[in-house]
Amino acid sequence: MNTVAAYTTSTGEAVQFWILGTVAVLGALGTVFLKRAVHSALSLAGTMIVLAVFYLANGAYFLGIVQIVVYTGAIMMLFLFVVMLVGVTAADSLKETIRGQRWLALLCGLGFGVLLIGGIGNATLTEFEGLAAANSGGNIQGLAALLFGKYVFAFEITGALLITAAVGAMVLTHRERTERAKTQKELAEERIRKGEYIPPLPAPGVYARHNAVDVAGLLPDGTPSELTVSATLRERGQIRDVSSQAIADLRALEQRANERLERDPLEPPRPRRGGSTELTRAEEAQQ
């Protein structure tokens, strides 16, 4: 446990670094470039777990565990809650407000990375003492001695910060209802008085194979009616269009009918001897 090497690490740690480091970078790239917020959150959680392993490898045993408990346990779950509130599939808009901003941002990022990594490369980092001496009395004991000794004032301030954050979150998300909620009777009266749409709203999904709530029902002329889908889904833009799927379904149905009637799908059916194809086939099958 206390064999954190001085200048070069063990081969095991090197192998661990190269494998898990790749995973961490891939997770970070996934966080940035995956389209959906849920996928980003999951990639970030992966990166954070890898970082926890790195903390453990660097002799920060307490912080490694805290990283898993606090970051992947609490903070990422909070992120997932908010993603759920805001809408899971709400994708990023791809319209650029400032023209060329994306490429400029990537260029800036690249330049920043080159500067940062070049700076580290130019620094003369020759002394690596390792944590063997500092961790000799136990990592947690050493941290506690510092936290409640040298840094006790900062620790107290942290308490004030956490209380402020909790109160702030409550103030920001609390909504005071200033007026009485309307009863069902009042809502009905209002609807009649307005006279725009008096009957109940039509039900979604009148396709034969889809009665899901996110599929719009069809008007008599075949166009989907957005009125049939719940207002929440309409606002999020999550109405599912199944027209292409319906065509595929029809094609599958036709193919199955062809197989059943032993027709060649490549050959278009042609009427023979004046009668319909199906009829003559059925007669042949009977004979």
Binding site: Y7, T9, E13, A14, F17, W18, A24, V25, A28, T31, V32, A37, S40, L44, T47, L51, F54, Y55, N58, G59, A60, F62, L63, V66, Q67, Y71, I75, L78, F79, V82, L85, V86, A90, S93, Q101, A105, C108, G109, L110, F112, G113, L116, I117, I120, E129, A134, N139, L143, L146, L147, Y151, A154, T158, L161, L162, A165, G168, A169, L172, R175
Partner: protein
């Protein structure tokens, strides 16, 4: 392997996070990228702690975690209230102060 590689990894992760903040529009993803940058800083602090052979770097990383937790709570509350009023979590939509 030289332990300086941990610093290079932290720099790389920080760069990816910073690029993400610039590129993405969804406020939640921008926030996640900020968390990524904070984590990269923590990794470098812990590597520094090992370099100098004392635990002060780990204490600072610990404080960073506490501040990050408080920041996440307030930031997500802001995003939720923004979504309630604007019905969108895009950072481009919040521009009432723009002339």
């Amino acid at each position: 392997m030289n332990p300086v590689n941990y610093l290079y990894l932290a720099a790389l992760l920080f760069t990816i996070g910073a690029t993400g903040v610039l590129v993405r529009r969804n406020a939640i993803v921008v926030f996640m990228c900020i968390e990524l940058m904070l984590n990269a800083c923590n990794l470098s602090l812990i590597a520094f702690s090992r370099m100098h052979g004392n635990l002060d770097g780990q204490i600072i990383a610990f404080f960073t975690m506490v501040v990050a937790a408080a920041e996440v709570v307030v930031g997500l509350a802001i995003i939720v209230s923004l979504f309630r009023t604007r019905h969108s979590a895009s950072v481009d939509d919040a521009r009432l102060m723009k002339l």
